[in-house]
Amino acid sequence: MVSRNNKTSELVEVFRRMWLIRAFEEKASLLYAERQIAGLLHLSIGQEAVAVGACSLLRKNDYVFGGHRSHGHAIACGADIDKLMAELAGRATGYCGGKGGSMHIVAKETGFITATGVVGGTIPLALGAAFAAKERKNGQLAVVFFGDGAGQAGAFHESLNIASLWKLPVIFVCENNGYAEFTPLSAHTKIEYLAQYAETYGIVATTVDGNDLFAVREVMARAIKKCRNNKGPVFVECLTHRMRGHYEGDPAKYRELSQLAEWKKQDPIVRVERVLRKKKLATSQELEAIEAETRALVEKAAEFALTSPLPAAEEIVRDVMT
């Protein structure tokens, strides 16, 4: 007998959300290869546990910020994948009317405030949202996702310092996947874990296995509680791996094949599935159905995107100023 309680359904939903990200990213990769998506595409396949582990515990009125690899973050916040795929395909029906594209997703109604194409660009923005949240005294907080590459940017350091000084309710979530663009972290800094930076600024910092959904949720639950009780900021470093190159088209020759094989064994989706099976929280059929359902939703999203109109020329001058 499978016990059906709130916690079970929540876990199954979380698992479903991870699959939605995986399916979406894999489809985006195909569309990109077909030149239906322009510009640069940065996929987060393999990093689903961080996005979903963090965002599944947030409230709708919390503020979430991402980077250039943020489709997963937006989906984890509950973004509409039809509008998301349409945005990637530069359509008028996209979240940003085709004005932003992959690196600049904004799904405001979900709390996903903005992504950015500039490494570290949203870290100070998250500070500001946390500043506003603190003024309101209603427990709102801000979360900002960035990679290990951002740890060497000036904006990162200035932000950590101010957040610590002013006790802002912000959770810095570092997705340390070991590579900043095309070089390993060791070519960017002498320190081994970015949590060490945070400690320098007097910020409570934890490093966890970012491919373990439950570990991420546990550390995030503690971080969220701290921030809601005005005891922030908090730094959470999630060790993970991106299964694709830095961008689509990057052959990633800088990675050892053996390294990739090792990481595939740690696939976050497979690991959650193992837990769900072992604890009999879902049957094989249910689990397979989840993959099939999410892939079907993504197909629908792709169809919506590709049959949507491109923006009209007049849109160029719309929404530049209010």
């Binding site: 009317g97 660009g121 949203t122 923005l125 500070l127 500001g128 500043f131 200035e158 530049v320």
Partner: protein, 323 residues
Amino acid sequence: MRELAYYEAKFEALDEIMAADQRVHLINGTFLSLSPHRHVFQNLKQKYGERMVAPPISELGFCGLATGAAMAGLRPIVDLSTGSFIYEAWPQVANEAANAFSMSGGQTRVPVVFHLFHGLRGGGAAQHSGSPQGMLWNCPGLEIVIPSSPRDVKGLLKSAVASDNPTIFVDHTRLLDIRGEVPENDKPIPFGVADIKRTGRDVTVVATSYTVQVALRAAATLAQEGIEVEVVDPRTLVPFDLATILESVEKTHRVVIADETHQSCGVAAEIAARISESGFDKLKAPIRRVSTLDVPVPYSPPLEAHIGPSEERISNAVRATLA
């Protein structure tokens, strides 16, 4: 009508703004610069201290903070103090604040005001004398406000805070002590409306910021030579009121543009291009620019005095355009 000093009008504006809207926060506080009047600012601290913060020297960090706070519903005014310091915050101003509304397809408004003091200040040298408004005009998505009188600073600051767009408020320390009429119960001044600071029939001088005051002095001198100069002050660069300038050119047929940004790609260059495109048939002489020379600003006072849009250079340009 009552007369106020520029710094008094500016302080009055801040006081009224802070009283009217709890969402307004002041980040940093040299709104009256390091002038002898800075003690006046303490009065604001007594009334609104909880909404005034002093960050560490991290312009990139606190300008990003202001931008993010605006995205999250506050209406911050962030003071950069010396205009050159905005270069430290450039990514957050030009890449995030300027782009957010458009990039988000209209979902995200950024009602932040970036306040700074630009220009030649007497011994500031190259790193404390910047006038970044030329470069900022080249970043679509930013409003740029540039007052030159007590009435204007009060009315424009109110409009800047009320605007939902990211706004650069370009002030000048040499304006702080000038006096001018400021009506009681004045109204906010809308953007995109130029002001004729002096009427005249012979030459149109378009000037901005402190250079408006310099142009007015030049006009007084030229009047003694029988040359009547019309001084037009755009008051805002974005949005820009070209129509008022063209009306003036229709009358005078000659234009001199005087401004403190460096000549290349500066404010005068853009204004000249716009007048030429739309008003070519009204002109009887080429448009002349009186900009800060294209050199890093030197320290020594006589050198500094030589490179800016001085009364002498403006007067010479006016005479040359009539020759």
